[in-house]
Symmetry: C2
Subunit: 305 residues, 2 copies
């Protein structure tokens, strides 16, 4: 089934305790698309870049089955740029620079062929733009997922709540779930957020895994304990891409299949953090991915007597 992803395609400069990467490829949509491409080759990417964005990178995406008809390339424009520095524990980071550049004028136009995508992943963007995308969909979607962040809760809560009311699945981190719901307990937060609209909620906890809430059901997916987390940038988007790619591939949104999809997303995220940028995500093989899925199984499998 087809997957539409809308979000940033960008440059990042990143500093971690392991080193520096200057002006490398980043952006939510890029991570989502690369990650999803290991599960489905029917992907529409809608985003905006300047003509400084390398053509070779776009060719690589096309070769992965990503349709770029919805990618606007602005002549003479500069691509969105983000720069950040991670602290020693890798769980927190400082944003050093955010240059919106062409993203400031992003007015997403969905190609006709993308409007009927069965699965939609809206990357973190201003809620107004996320709503513009929803306005263009033909209503035949099976699952619409949305990622957001505390920034929009701080400055555009009403618009954010409006767009959240129109989607099926929300992905946010634990602190954001608390902020959005006003509840400290994630179980209580999930109930409040379900009432806002989304019947599915994924709370991402970084190195502590992820929780999927649906009605009274809760599923927990661990993060894989790793010897080294080299660079966490893009891990959340890679998770979302693997998750949505798996759903698009299997076209099954039962709770049982959602669990497999979350493990698939977690496995992809565990690769993402092993290197800067998309370096690791670009060179994976299906046997490597399957072996990692088995490691997740082994990590949490037990038999009661």
């Amino acid at each position: 089934m087809s997957l539409l992803t809308v979000g940033t395609v960008a440059f990042d400069s990143i500093e971690t305790p392991y080193g520096k990467a200057e002006m490398v490829i980043g952006g939510a949509c890029t991570y989502i698309s690369w990650s999803a491409s290991y599960f489905t080759q029917d992907i529409h990417l809608v985003s905006i870049v300047g003509d400084d964005f390398p053509t070779a990178e776009l060719e690589l995406l096309k070769n992965r089955g990503v349709n770029l008809d919805g990618l606007k390339i602005v002549e003479g424009g500069k691509s969105f740029f983000w720069s950040g520095r991670y602290h020693n524990n890798m769980n927190s980071r400082d944003t050093l620079i955010t240059d919106l550049n062409v993203l400031a004028d992003f007015d997403p136009i969905l190609p006709e062929s993308a409007k009927s995508s069965k699965y939609v992943m809206l990357g973190n963007l201003t809620p107004r733009i996320q709503a513009q995308v929803l306005d263009q969909l033909d209503g035949s979607q099976k699952l619409i997922a949305l990622d957001t962040m505390n920034f929009w809760m701080d400055i555009a809560m009403d618009e954010l709540l409006a767009v959240i009311s129109r989607i099926n699945l929300l992905t946010i981190n634990d602190e954001e779930a608390r902020q959005l719901s006003g509840e400290h307990s994630l179980v209580k937060a999930a109930k409040v957020i379900h009432e806002m609209g989304p019947e599915f909620l994924i709370i991402k906890k970084g190195e502590h895994g992820a929780l999927l809430f649906h009605g009274e059901d809760i599923f927990f997916a661990p993060a894989l304990p790793l010897s080294e987390v080299f660079d966490p940038t893009g891990a959340g988007d890679t998770f979302a891409g693997g998750f949505m790619g798996y759903l698009a591939k299997t076209d099954d949104i039962s709770m049982e299949n959602m669990k497999r999809a979350i493990i698939a997303g977690s496995a992809m995220a565990s690769f993402c953090v092993e290197d800067f940028s998309l370096n690791k995500l670009k060179i994976l093989t299906l046997p490597e991915i399957n072996a990692r899925l088995q490691r997740f199984k082994k990590l949490i499998h037990f038999e009661l007597e």
Copy 2:
């Protein structure tokens, strides 16, 4: 099989966002023993209290199959007292008062019958006293587990390392594992700590679950997402008690059985936090415990295609 537990039996005064509890029953050994008593009735408790400690509480422990021959009651003495206040997020707390009282003179003497206990759980105490207990064991133990904390790493690292080299299983939290090993990655920390002696390591992550490391094997047990964490005091000791009680009951220290034991400990801890002190732990039934074990299974069970 028999379980020996050595540690504090105490009074606590606790303040959480949900309320206050003044001079309630606490202490590592108390939590460990109550929790373990749902799995085995062959428990030796070695500790020290003043004559202010309620006789009725000791009778309750005896009724649970806990042998108190090793509990010294100091005439005219006052029991160990700890007072703390939890912050709103429940993950951090301030210690307000620590009155060692009779604990300052704790010189644990194992009753003859306790020296051959197959399973030993050393609660958090000064490493010197933990070593004194080891000195008295007859060498026939199947598993010796030890809990400690950052405080001893700060002021008595050499003594702590000496006692750690003599045990089979260490339980500490994630920050303590990092401090003890000098490694941020828990996978790397586990390797360093294995080299210190213990072939098993349990890293407790509170609301984020627990990790068991053994050789190259890693098992992850989640914490149960709860609507309300009323009071986290004693959760780590309750976890250890359930874990060791389950091992003593099944007398099987294979990795597969250790996984079940960790889930048992996690289930007991999930009850502990539902009320102040031992209030909830005192009134459990086996069907309740079994139902909770099933909830853990449901929380993390998935089938790969």
